[in-house]
Every structure is written in structure tokens, then in C-alpha cells.
């Protein structure tokens, strides 16, 4: 029994961190938000070069056959640099959905291409988590029609889109079918989300049932929690650094007890989140009976902690934190979006209670 990262996992984190840092700084992020999509492509290529897209894909399909824990470590680094790169859907949720039955024709056909980065995969299941008016999908003898919003990893015109209708996972090949994908503008320019319109598209059934749908959503939630962990961690570090540079009243502001305690409170809230994220990720791989509850708590708790931390860290930066000059707001906004997708905290806590049979 060991509650710690293995050496391999440490190395994975560090190398991903170095790689992203080498291509991605705040000015580049600013350009990206300004519409220059070069960074997206560079990161995509870098990820492929490191073999990351296939992280969860079994070796027989050309992947590394690792788990949600490793996927979360990567997500933490992505969040740390607010890197606009395919991950939660393309490399986590879609592969898990395709692997439900072990091997299958669909798995054999698509997973190798995803692993190689030859195709990108998008997931459009927002309506399962909480459906809004004028959205939703229906299936009519094998053909899906309707609109799904807040689809994830839809930015590299994905070859395949995985979605859920009537409690079943379906796969749509965008090369063969009439699918319209358009980006939905949100506060967070570093995590593109899409509207996907299916115009009576032939859909191949992957697998079905609440269990696999939960499993895919849980993995997504854990990975988003890990992303928020990285984003928050880096906001805290920035706040401390800034407080040790900025002087007012002839002192660095980091020497004022009020600022010290703001930072201490952020650290006290954030530190246990790392263990929570590790545990929930590990649970997805190895503790099936706890995986659902752990995933809900990771998503809900990180959403609250990160949300609060983003506000405090910005305040520590004073006026500069509010301007665009430091780009701190990219971190702030990435947390703002991650908090809401795949279920906001109040809703996810409700699920956490239901999982334990409370109030049902």
C-alpha cells in the first residue's frame, strides 16, 4: 500500500510540464485568445510526439495502457499552464467509452488512430448531465438528429463524435455524416467548447447502460478536477510571488499579515485537494466500489476550492490582477468554466448523496 506517485508518474508529470512550458507562456496564450490558433496545433503535435493521446489506450491499439490517475497528472499540468489542448474527451472519455466492451470493431478501428493522433475525438453528452431547453438528441432507426451543446474537444474538426441517446453511447463519423460543429464562445478561451448539430446522422452503437455512461462522466469529472488543481496551484504560486515583489507602504505586500493569511488560507484549502484528486483518479482505475462517490467529491470540492481561490489570488494581485496585463484572468476563467461543465457543484453533490442512498 502506497499513497504516492510512482517514479514513472513523477517523470510523466515533469516531462509534460517541461514540454508545455516550452511552448506556452502567457503572451502566447494571449495571442491564442486573440484568434491565433497556432498554439493549439503546436500543442497537439507535441502531445502526439510524446504519445499522450493514447495514454489510456491499451498497447494492443498503439497506446500506453495507463490509467485515469496518469491522465489526471497530465490534466494537472495542462491546467497549470492553461494550455489549449485536446484531453478530457479525446484522450479520456472517448477511449473509455470505446473500451467498455474490451475489444470491439469500433475500438479496433478508431483507438489506434486516436493514439497516433491521426484523428481527434469529441464527446457531446452535455444533455445527460443536465439538459437545457432547445437542445437534445433523438435517434430514429439508427440516425441521430438534434443539437448538443458544450461538446468537448471539438476544436480540431474531430473525425468522430461520441454521444449518448436513450442511455446508449453512439459514435458518428463526421467524414461520412452531416454534422455541423461550431465553437461556443465562453469566458475561457483556453478550453474550446462546441455546439454540435446532427442532421440525421448514421450512428454506430458503442455500448450502453447507466454504468458505462457514469464511468465515462466520472472519469471526465476527475480529469476536470485535476485540471482545476493545477490551475489553482499555479494561481496560488503567482499570488505569493507577486506579493513578494509588489511594494506598498515601503514593504512588500507579502509581509502584511492580511496578505499572508489570505495566502495561508488558500494553501490550507488547496493542499488536501491534491490527495483527493489522486485518490479519486486512482479509484477510477482500482476501486470500482468508490469510484463514483470519489469522482463527485473531487469535482464538487475542487470546484468550490478553486472558485474561491481564484477570487482571493486575484485580490492579492490588486489592480494588476484585474487588468489583462499579467494574464492572470486566463487561469481565473479556466476555473470558471471547469466549475460548470459535466455538472456544477450543487448538482454533483446531489448525485454524491444519491450514490450513498441519502434522501432517495
Amino acid at each position: 500500500m502506497e499513497f504516492a506517485l510512482s517514479e514513472e508518474q513523477e517523470i510523466l508529470s515533469e516531462s509534460v510540464s517541461k514540454m508545455i512550458e516550452s511552448v506556452c507562456d502567457v503572451d502566447i496564450i494571449r495571442n491564442h485568445s486573440g484568434g491565433d490558433k497556432e498554439l493549439r496545433n503546436i500543442l497537439k503535435d507535441q502531445f502526439v510526439e510524446m504519445g499522450l493521446p493514447g495514454l489510456l489506450i491499451p498497447e494492443e491499439y498503439g497506446g500506453s495502457g495507463l490509467g485515469v490517475l496518469e491522465a489526471s497528472l497530465v490534466a494537472e499540468q495542462i491546467g497549470k499552464y492553461v494550455a489549449p489542448v485536446l484531453w478530457v474527451a479525446n484522450s479520456v472519455m472517448v477511449p473509455i467509452s470505446l473500451l467498455d466492451k474490451g475489444s470491439s470493431d469500433l475500438a479496433e478501428k478508431w483507438l489506434p488512430q486516436i493514439a497516433k493522433g491521426e484523428v481527434s475525438a469529441c464527446i457531446a453528452i452535455n444533455e445527460v448531465v443536465g439538459s437545457r431547453e432547445d437542445t437534445g438528441l433523438k435517434i430514429d432507426n439508427g440516425k441521430i438528429s438534434g443539437t448538443s451543446i458544450f461538446a468537448l474537444d471539438g476544436e480540431h474538426d474531430p473525425r468522430i463524435i461520441v454521444t449518448v441517446v436513450d442511455n446508449n453511447f453512439y459514435l458518428v463519423d463526421t467524414k461520412e455524416e452531416d454534422v455541423e460543429i461550431s465553437e461556443i464562445p465562453t469566458i475561457d478561451s483556453t478550453r474550446p467548447v462546441s455546439e454540435v448539430i446532427f442532421n440525421s446522422c448514421k450512428a454506430e452503437e458503442i455500448s450502453g447502460g447507466k454504468e458505462i455512461i457514469d464511468k465515462v462522466i466520472d472519469a471526465g469529472r476527475v480529469v476536470l478536477a485535476a485540471d482545476m488543481l493545477g490551475t489553482s496551484d499555479s494561481m496560488l504560486k503567482k499570488a505569493v510571488e507577486y506579493s513578494l515583489e509588489r511594494k506598498q507602504f515601503n514593504r512588500v505586500i507579502g509581509s502584511f499579515q492580511a496578505v499572508k493569511h489570505m495566502c495561508a488560507e488558500m494553501a490550507a484549502e488547496l493542499e488536501p485537494c491534491r490527495a483527493l484528486v489522486w485518490y479519486s483518479a486512482y479509484a477510477q482505475d482500482s476501486i470500482p466500489e468508490e469510484s463514483r462517490l470519489a469522482a463527485c467529491h473531487a469535482k464538487a470540492h475542487l470546484s468550490e476550492v478553486a472558485h474561491n481561490l481564484a477570487r482571493i489570488a486575484t485580490q492579492v494581485h490588486g489592480g494588476m490582477g484585474f487588468t489583462d496585463l499579467l494574464g492572470l484572468h486566463y487561469w481565473f476563467k479556466r476555473i470558471g468554466l471547469a466549475r460548470q461543465i459535466l455538472g456544477g457543484p450543487e448538482r454533483v453533490r446531489k448525485e454524491a448523496a444519491e450514490i450513498q442512498g441519502f434522501g432517495v
Binding site: 469566458i187 489592480g319 484585474f322 484572468h329 450543487e346
Partner: protein
């Protein structure tokens, strides 16, 4: 305690209502499609003439010259909000400079500036903060070098909203370099068209440039433009800041937002269920309503007090801290209610609120920081409000 309007006020409310029903088609605000500057200034003039703007500004300075009257002001605010009519111009000139001139300006300064300001003929911006001087405003470095009848001003200001279209700036300048930091500052009125002034928009986290940076290079200003005495600008500015603090965190705004949120909860659904039927959201709504009501009543109490020439010191000191945080929390709640849809920020056919709540959520964070950070507010509350000691000077400052 007597919140009964009484016949006079019932009558007054009728007047306001009938004024609005007759005239609000003439009203104008920048956000209107049919907006024109003329329409707006005509509307402003009409408001002043009827005592719905510049209500308590003396007649000789172009105001309506009414006695302060808490209830009448409240009735006006309520009826204009009710009918969603813009209550005239709101800018720092009207809210901050005019009260300051009335308090500390020379007769000539009052005559030359107040009327034009309240009529919107002159737009002002505020030149206080500098990149190096935020919380420690008194350390500001923008210098005014004495040159006969003038000052030659060099330096930089930041957070100057409306600077891009302002005619004038009320500005803090260090004119006495050798005096202690609080005693070396003058409060100077500067024409923005003076050569050497460069205004650059300042982009914030909202993605918009709600503020500017203003750079001064050898800007020549006549000494007659000082308000108050030379070197006493710090005290003049604090008179102004007092008015600003009164303005930031306005509970009426919170009350309006709460209404918007209730409407939102009545229309928005998730999985077909109205949000208003979610007990957890309702509990949070009620917590917020409790805070909103407390702040509204607190402001009524302060208004009555100032009306009677009294002062509810603590009641005023807390408004900025509580009000800005409350507005921020309300926006955060609205975003949570909207969920994913609440993150949309830009043109989308799935947008339900045109990004309004996100903008507010971010801008309010700026307000929590600006005009005296939350930490500075707490220092003030504990020192001025509770009589606790100031931060002892650290030894390192000695070493200087």
C-alpha cells in the same frame, strides 16, 4: 421610525409617476439603439428642471436646489427603476467632483464648473491612482514642478475611467517634493486637451477597456486650477473619496440584481424543472436576500442620519466592503444557476444573459479591489470604526 410616506409623499410619488408616463419616451441612455448625445442632454436638462437630477445642488449652480429629502430621493429612484427609465447622467464629475467643489471649491470654481458638469457639458475623469501607488495612494509620484503661474506636470495615472472622452480631469499631483508624503500633494483640475496628455485604454479581465492609463509629459497647468490650498490635495481628495465610498456598493443595485435572479429562477429550467423549485438554490437565494435587505435598510438609516445632519459612522464605513462583495456574490450565484450557459461570453444562440452576469462577476471583483481594497477597507473599519491602532511602522522603514 416612521416609514409612512404621509400625504406630501403620496402626492410626490403621483407627480413622479405622471412625469414618467408623460416623458419617459424622451429618455435616453447610451445603451439605447436610438441614443444620441443631444437626446441625452435634453433628457438631463428636463430631469434637473423637474428635480429628478442634481436635486439638491443649489439653484445658483444650475441645480434644482431642493432640500435633501430621503424619502423623495428614494421615491424618485424607485419610480425610475420601476419604469426602467434612466435616471440622468452618472459620472465621476457629478458624483465626486461636484460635492467636493461645493465643499471646498472657490466661488469662482463652483460657478465655472458645477452647472456645466451636472448638465453633462463637461465630462470629468479622476486622476488619483498610479501604477506604483494603489493602496498607498499618498506615495503618488506624478510631479508638478513650479513654473511661475503654472505647474509643469509629468507622470502617469491609471484606472482613469472615461478618460478617453473626458474634457477635464481632477488630479492629484505632487507639487511639494520636500514635504512629508501626505502634505506634498495638490488637487488640480486639468484640461484633457492640454498638450502632453496621452490616454491609452487599459484592458481588464472582462476583455473590455473600462479604464485607461493617462501619461503626462510636460503638461502645463495654471495654478488657479488648484482646489483647496496648495499641498492640501490629500485632504481635498479624501473629501472626494468619502463620496466615492458612499457610491461603491450601492445596495439598490444589489436589490435590483436579486429581482433579476428571481426572474431568472422562474424561467430557467434544468431537466425540465424550474430552478426556483430547487430547495438548495432557494436557501442560497434567501441567504442573499437577507444580506440585501440588511444593506438596504442600513442605507436608509444612513440617509436619515445625514438628512438630520447626524452621522452613522460605522454604517457608512462598511458599505463599500459589504456592498461590492454582495454584488459579486449575487453575480456568482446567477452564474451557478445558469450553469454551463452562464459561461457563455459572446455571440451565441444558446446565450441566455448576453454574458451580463459574467461581466458583472469580473467587474465587481475589480470594484472589490479598486477604490480601496477590501484589506484597506478592513483597516479603516478597525481603525476609524473600532478605534484599533494603526499598523506599527516596521523597523525596516527606519533603515531608509
Amino acid at each position: 421610525m416612521d416609514l409612512n410616506p404621509g400625504p406630501e409623499y403620496i402626492k410626490f410619488r403621483k407627480e413622479v409617476k405622471s412625469f414618467l408616463s408623460k416623458n419617459n419616451h424622451m429618455s435616453s441612455r447610451a445603451s439605447d439603439s436610438a441614443y444620441t448625445a443631444d437626446k441625452e442632454s435634453n433628457w438631463q436638462e428636463k430631469l434637473i428642471k423637474n428635480g429628478y437630477a442634481a436635486r439638491t445642488i443649489p439653484k445658483e449652480y444650475g441645480g434644482f436646489g431642493a432640500e435633501p429629502d430621503v424619502l423623495k430621493s428614494r421615491i424618485i429612484a424607485e419610480e425610475f427603476t420601476e419604469s426602467q427609465t434612466p435616471l440622468g447622467m452618472a459620472n465621476q464629475g457629478i458624483s465626486m467632483l461636484v460635492p467636493t467643489l461645493l465643499e471646498l471649491g472657490t466661488e469662482e470654481q463652483k460657478k465655472s464648473w458645477i452647472e456645466k458638469t451636472i448638465k453633462g457639458e463637461i465630462i470629468w475623469c479622476q486622476g488619483y491612482s498610479e501604477p506604483g501607488s494603489g493602496s498607498d495612494l499618498a506615495s503618488l509620484q506624478t510631479k508638478g514642478v513650479d513654473d511661475g503661474d503654472d505647474f509643469i506636470i509629468n507622470g502617469q495615472k491609471i484606472w482613469t475611467s472615461t478618460a478617453q472622452f473626458a474634457d477635464m480631469m481632477f488630479c492629484l499631483v505632487r507639487t511639494e517634493p520636500d514635504a512629508p508624503k501626505h502634505k506634498g500633494i495638490s488637487y488640480i483640475l486639468i484640461d484633457m486637451k492640454t498638450p502632453g496628455i496621452d490616454v491609452r485604454p487599459l484592458m481588464t479581465m472582462t476583455g473590455h477597456a473600462e479604464f485607461n492609463e493617462v501619461f503626462f509629459t510636460d503638461v502645463r497647468v495654471s495654478k488657479t486650477n488648484i482646489v483647496g490650498n496648495r499641498g492640501e490635495g490629500w485632504y481635498v481628495a479624501n473629501a472626494t473619496l468619502k463620496h466615492e465610498r458612499g457610491m461603491l456598493g450601492d445596495p439598490n443595485q444589489a436589490a435590483t440584481r436579486l429581482k433579476e435572479i428571481v426572474n431568472l429562477m422562474n424561467v430557467e429550467t434544468i431537466n425540465g424543472e424550474k430552478l426556483i423549485n430547487n430547495p438548495v438554490h432557494l436557501d442560497r437565494l434567501m441567504r442573499l436576500q437577507g444580506r440585501v435587505l440588511s444593506m438596504s435598510y442600513n442605507s436608509l438609516r444612513s440617509l436619515t442620519a445625514s438628512h438630520k445632519g447626524l452621522d452613522v459612522k460605522m454604517g457608512k464605513l462598511i458599505v463599500k466592503l459589504n456592498g461590492c462583495q454582495l454584488n459579486h456574490d449575487l453575480a456568482g450565484f446567477a452564474i451557478d444557476l445558469l450553469g454551463e450557459l452562464g459561461t457563455i461570453y459572446g455571440l451565441s444562440n444558446h446565450d441566455h444573459d448576453s454574458g451580463k452576469w459574467q461581466w458583472r462577476y469580473m467587474f465587481d471583483l475589480g470594484l472589490i479591489i479598486g477604490g480601496g481594497t477590501a484589506q484597506i477597507q478592513k483597516n479603516i473599519i478597525s481603525e476609524i470604526g473600532l478605534g484599533m491602532p494603526r499598523e506599527p511602522k516596521p523597523m525596516l522603514e527606519e533603515k531608509k
